[in-house]
Amino acid sequence: MTPRVVIVDDHAPFRSLARRLLGAGGFSVVGEAADGAGALAVVRDLTPDVVLLDVQLPGPDGFAVAEVLAREPDAPVVVLVSSRALLDYGSRVAASTARGFIAKADLSGETLQDVIRGPGRPVPCSG
């Protein structure tokens, strides 16, 4: 069964390309959102398996949105993306509730698959 993905990013051309790339890479993109509030609504509506979440969002940033999503029942796996590098965020990604991080330029079905399977970082208990 193909994993169901929601893409959250305020840059429309990126969403459009990511949708096609992930579609070609074995994912089914079921929804999109441009900010944190939209992301929560779409996730509650569609209960996806994976959320591809931009860090630099208008309003609350990706880390804050990831924390909110982690508290949802049936919390999806969150993967952060950014046009900055992982290094630019120091230890914030590791300390977050997200499964992992992909630099936008590296995004493909494969890299997403790798992060989701990943080194098996435990998802912090959401209570």
């Binding site: 051309p13 990126f14 390309l17 070609a24 046009s83």
Partner: protein, 588 residues
């Protein structure tokens, strides 16, 4: 109060002397019998009281023409002598004597209630003074014409208590007498209370002029109160005789106490010498001049602020800006040098009545004040430089943050999409049609073009290369062309100035244009650059919403930038009236 002319003063003095002589004559030859042992003390004491008030009153009037106290003292002296009309054994003498018999007490109440200004200043004073006057002549007229008070013809001492002596008849006060005495007691009691309240509320400077008069007043009123209560409490008036004598003695000295209070400031002027010595004793320390002035003027609350003409503002001795505005209970004296203000003293309002003292102190402290003002000016400039240095560093950091964000949100974002499009094209090489691939490559090309445009714009914002290559005119034209709001640049003088001058003028225009677009929602902007005598003047005027905050970070940063070249930035932005930003930069 008008000034007392010497001729009027001489006439009043002569009249006072004559009134005293006439009173004495009335007492001795008026027709009543004054006990021989009481004649001399009565004469001496009464003449002393009357002449003391008239004489000292005339001095006070001359020295302090602004105060009405001198006039009231003179009036009191004459009223004191007028009582002696009653000593003339005739119907007319009796009527006049009774009518004016207690007017001096009313004037005394007036004096006490309004000392040291001599003018009624509030409602309490008005009530006290009015009641005081109603209790004298009007009430005596009622006694005389309604109750039909009669004189005892030719027998015994003069009536109306003119000569202080135990009454020889039965002491049997009527109910009306008691009521009147009660009102008098209440009046004097409240008088004492208001004098005390006023004294307690006064600042140290004011107390110095109030204290001598207030102490004397307390003595007199106290004696009168005891004397009157003795009557009220049905204590035989024999006890009151001693009190009446002592009240009269205090009345002789009291005018001098009043005069002392009035002239305190003139005595204080002798303190100006020590002030100058003290100020010359060491280097100026911000607080020292203020405390020396406060001590000399006896006003610990005194504040000193220096005028900085260049900044058109007052600063305290430490150089911090202060607001100097009229406040309740405070008075201000401006110190001037060559006709221009250099400082202001904010002080107890009582000192405003002593301009000679303040002027003497100001003159004595003049050099020290000027010296301290220069120090305050340097401290103020230092503060300003420190603040602007901090703001300039902050602005530079802010600018770097903005460049990072612009790079990330703009060009980098687009380049990422290009990378993704190329990867997608790569994965679809075998499967997609060439039309699909072409569309994908077009998409990548468009994003790439957008990224390049944004990078160009960003680079131009960081530094306008046209400014270095072609000068201010072409750089401003290019700025205006790229401005989303129609902007007209009036002919810019075609010459080159120092790099720093050109850059500063360019950024004034660029920031003002950005504000016109972003905040003012202007529909057109006019830019003008002119050479003035000593420099370059740029003006940017828009027709937008106005209300720009000159203290906001953008305009503040511009002002700092202009100030580093010794220039000045002014912003006029009335709400609804457009914004006009004018920068002047000196250049050789």
């Amino acid at each position: 109060m008008q000034r007392l002319r010497p001729r009027t003063r001489a006439a009043l003095a002569a009249a006072g002397a004559a009134a005293g002589v006439a009173a004495a004559a009335a007492l001795v030859w008026g027709g009543y019998q004054v006990p021989a042992d009481l004649l001399a003390p009565t004469l001496v004491l009464d003449l002393a009281v009357g002449w003391s008030f008239i004489g000292v009153g005339l001095v006070a009037w001359r020295r302090r023409p602004d105060s009405r106290t001198g006039l009231l003292m003179v009036v009191l002296g004459f009223a004191w002598f007028a009582r002696f009309a009653v000593a003339v054994d005739s119907r007319a003498g009796f009527v006049v004597g009774v009518l004016v018999g207690s007017v001096y007490l009313s004037v005394l109440v007036h004096l006490l209630a309004t000392f040291p200004g001599g003018r009624v200043q509030d409602r309490t004073q008005r009530v006290l003074v009015t009641v005081g006057y109603l209790l004298s002549a009007p009430l005596d007229a009622v006694f005389l014409f309604v109750f039909g008070a009669q004189r005892q013809l030719g027998e015994g001492p003069p009536p109306n208590g003119l000569v202080i002596a135990p009454s020889n008849g039965e002491f049997d006060p009527s109910g009306v007498d008691l009521a009147v005495q009660a009102v008098v007691v209440v009046l004097f009691g409240s008088l004492l209370a208001t004098v005390f309240t006023r004294w307690r509320a006064a600042g140290p400077a004011q107390r110095r002029s109030l204290t001598p008069g207030a102490v004397g007043a307390a003595l007199i009123v106290g004696t009168i109160l005891v004397e009157r209560t003795a009557v009220l409490l049905l204590i035989p008036p024999a006890v009151g005789v001693a009190l009446a004598w002592s009240a009269a003695v205090v009345l002789v000295v009291w005018p001098l106490a009043l005069l002392l209070g009035l002239l305190r400031s003139q005595l204080d002027r002798s303190a100006v010498g020590p002030l100058i010595v003290e100020l010359g004793a060491g280097l100026p320390v911000p607080e020292r001049l203020r405390s020396a002035l406060a001590a000399t003027l006896h006003d610990p609350s005194l504040e000193l602020a220096y005028w900085l003409p260049e900044r058109r503002a007052f600063v305290d001795p430490a150089g911090a800006p202060v607001t100097v505005a009229p406040a309740r209970g405070r008075a201000m004296t401006y110190l001037e040098r060559d006709g221009a203000p250099i400082a202001v003293l904010v002080h107890d309002p009582v000192l405003a009545a002593e301009p000679e003292l303040v002027a003497a102190v100001a003159a004595g402290a003049g050099l020290a004040v000027e010296n301290d003002r220069l120090h305050a000016e340097v401290r103020s400039q230092l503060r300003e430089v420190q603040a602007s240095r901090a703001r300039i560093v902050e602005a530079a950091d802010g600018a770097r943050r903005r460049v990072e964000r612009d790079l990330h949100d703009g060009a980098q974002q687009r380049l990422v999409t290009v990378a993704l499009a190329l990867r997608l094209a790569h994965t679809q090489l075998g499967t997609a049609t060439s039309a699909e691939l072409a569309a994908l490559l077009d998409e990548a090309g468009a994003e790439l073009a957008g990224a390049l445009a944004e990078l160009r714009e960003l680079a131009r914002g960081i530094y306008p290369v046209l400014l270095t290559d072609a000068g201010l005119g072409p750089a401003l034209d290019s700025l205006a062309e790229r401005c989303p709001v129609p902007a007209v640049v009036a002919a810019v003088p075609a010459r080159r100035w120092a790099e720093a001058v050109e850059q500063t003028c360019y950024f004034v225009v660029s920031e003002a244009l950005a504000n016109a677009v972003k905040h003012a929602r202007a529909s057109q902007v006019a830019v003008e650059v002119r050479e003035t005598g000593g420099g370059l003047r740029v003006e940017v005027a828009d027709d937008g919403a106005g209300g720009a905050d000159a203290g906001g970070s953008g305009l503040r940063g511009l002002a700092d930038r202009v100030a580093t070249l010794g220039g000045e930035l002014t912003v006029r932005s009335p709400r609804g009236g457009g914004t006009r930003v004018v920068g002047t930069v000196p250049c050789a």
